[in-house]
Symmetry: D2
């Protein structure tokens, strides 16, 4: 968990659907290095996937799948009591669908990051991480699994080892952390860091020192391979720009996680 | 269009969805050599796709994609006024999704056969064949495109040449043909051949002589690489069994189209 | 909870979808008095709803709504972490949609019975019963809410009183009961009663004596307004026929719950 | 087709879905008198329908159903080759669903206006108008059917008479008209009128004189009961405001179509 001189920036993109536009993809994709692309279950559709892959290609951004529950109405944010078998099927289906659009542009997928409720449920039920890792392993494309840096790391490492899957850990630039390395709930005061300078400083400290200041003021060790940023509103894009500037000024290379993991 | 000594048998399978069962897949898959597997738009779901791929693997049947319109309520049988761009996206998405399930079982997809309204519309609007061929070409997996033997063959050949895509032509064992090589409409008397012996004889004549007797009694030249059979009812399965016996008795090899195309 | 001389028989019907057929509606609807009709979220579609309402009308069966979660792939059987507001919207939407088909045939809806996961979740989270009762109350059609007879009755009565909604309690003819009036889990041995004579006897005892013999042999008091029967397989239809005969032989009137509640 | 002193203003609203927001409903609903509310097939969902009904109630706007094809991905704008029976089912289902949300707020629906491809197809295939009118007639709620003022009026009148359904004719404030009363195709230059003053003047002339100046400069007779305005962008809202001011300045009453039809 020591010093690094490079980092990845990932963001959820391709979340539009049909006539519905969501997110500032054109603005955020040029700023990131890894794109988590929705695959048509909770967001995204074939046309949106095609356009998002094209945008990623244009800006040299590594594409990855962002599979979610089949719940467009709930944007994949509601827990669904699906079996591991069902989850494996959902992940395989979505990764495969996105893979086709990448292949048509001569690209390969780099990673898989579960979306919304699927991501959150996985931290309470590691069988979901196993399910996703098993799919990645069986797909045989050497995809990286993206998960949150924090308390569950040892168990995630074990899942990665069991299935021979690389795991990238992500840090949230605009979120406060508890002393145990978990995220402060959005319902708590101070959970979101709105100050761009402060957020950029935190990322810098994380990369340089492998540390983050928790909400209680204590300094905790934390290591991450990629920083999760957002593109769903202008302020989020501004934060991402600020991050890029700060990282450039500090001589830290920004590159797709697959380049160094 | 001369004599052959081998043929493929294809059937639409994997059309169940969730709690809904459709088709006698367990019975028909052991009898065929190429499986057209629904991909979740007009029928099929991730769990069904996984099971169907497993069944195909077990019986040495070559899996292929059977993409359709996103119209589960209409089973993909209703014309939808989609653009070529939309159709390309739908086909890529579905082929990619099925590819994942095949890859997880160590299989590769062999072919793509458009389903229902998409298939029928394509014969009236060859831009659809171009769209599907372009997707196949860009996917780079050397997939075979399955289309109906009959009047449009020259134009299909041109599409295949343009995109570097192999085309397999299919013959319908239980359907009567017009003098121009097109299918007799289901609304016409005699359109469906219910007599299993007669249907098997027609297939044999097609393979051996490259000829079929049209509904008006004339003998017309027709060549096909694969015979389309059905598994949606017991009589259809019986016909397929009869076909297998007839072909075996005649010393005609039955093999996946990819083995000889 | 004393003796009665009439009872309602309800069954889940209208669960087909598009090209998919599910359930022996033509056989079971003539045998029941109240039909729980799927409304297009977990099963059913507009065409199926229209046909099912017509069948109910033909046989003098009172139609009711069987709303479920928007989860066709999971047949509404998976818990979805929806808010009460979302659930109210789902129930209102589905009841309204079915109401239209009833109105077009000159019928009024009689009842609402939540389906699958929505029904099961409600017994663990009575806020769901409140949500459904509130919708019924606000719809102003005096619909009956159908719920399971058993341990939660007092709380259900309170919900009914609060919203001015009549509640019908249902008994499962083919299920064993625990001593506390709850259903024996399907995972336990003896949970399902396959013996038609025994099942019919239990229903008779319930109606005449307000009692049921629990799985541990004790006799417990239980009162119900309607018996839930099934039409998804021939054996279930046979049981329903047997029930009708037994009830007729015992001089017990079979009538829609709305006639006597 | 003479002078009138009142008019209705209608707009398509409630087109958001889940996490996706579409249209400036909060801004346009206060300016109109009749709201065409999406019903969940091509746009809208239960939560959106509830909120839109509440907005309509708050501003004294008469709610109506805006049913479309089951094609969320295509926003109901693609022709689907559905049968009249299927269309009847789709319309009944959606009108019923919206009716429930209106009933819960103590409102009644005023009208039905087919959306997108369903609306456009109906002018080429009057069997669709018959289908919609039949549903309205059988629903027995005396709903008004909204259709375009122009060439098909006599046939629409005949449909209305046959089914006992009132028809409201709508005029498009921002669209140029051909000499025969049809809309100039959006692909033609001059099809859209961007000048707000000019658009308002046209509406005034229509109401006062029953006339409109066609794109070729000729004055043609045209009569309408309601003006279709838009709320999908700020300019459209500005036009609607301008219209309201112009109508107020001219002493023309603006009221829901149901008040005077």
């Amino acid at each position: 968990m020591g010093q690094k001189n490079r980092i990845d920036l990932n963001s959820d993109v391709g979340e539009s659907f049909g006539n519905y536009k969501l997110g500032l993809d054109e603005e955020v994709i040029p700023l990131i290095t890894s794109a988590n692309i929705a695959c048509g279950f909770h967001a995204g559709d074939p046309g949106v996937m095609e356009k998002t892959i094209a945008l990623a290609k244009k800006h040299g951004v590594a594409p990855g799948a962002h599979p979610g529950f089949p719940d467009l109405m709930g944007f994949g944010r509601r827990n669904i009591d699906a079996t591991f078998e069902e989850i494996k099927g959902y992940v395989a289906y979505q990764v495969g669908a996105l893979h086709a659009f990448a292949a048509m542009e001569g690209l390969r997928l780099q990673h898989v990051k579960p979306h919304g409720a699927l991501y959150n449920m996985a931290f309470k039920n590691f069988g979901i991480w196993e399910a996703v890792a098993e799919v990645i392993s069986r797909l045989g494309q050497n995809l990286i699994l993206v998960a949150m840096a924090g308390p569950g790391r040892e168990r995630l490492e074990a899942v990665g080892s069991k299935y021979g899957v690389r795991i990238a850990y992500e840090f949230f630039a605009d979120r406060a952390y508890n002393r145990d390395g978990s995220l402060v709930s959005r319902r708590e005061p101070g959970a979101i860091i709105h100050d761009r300078d402060k957020a950029a400083e935190r990322v810098l400290k994380l990369i340089r020192e492998g540390k983050v200041v928790a909400i209680d003021g204590t300094e905790i060790p934390l290591s991450a391979d990629t920083i999760c940023v957002h593109g769903d509103n202008p302020a989020a894009v501004m934060l991402t720009k600020k991050l890029r500037e700060t990282l450039a000024g500090a001589g830290i290379e920004v590159a797709p996680m697959g380049n160094f993991l």
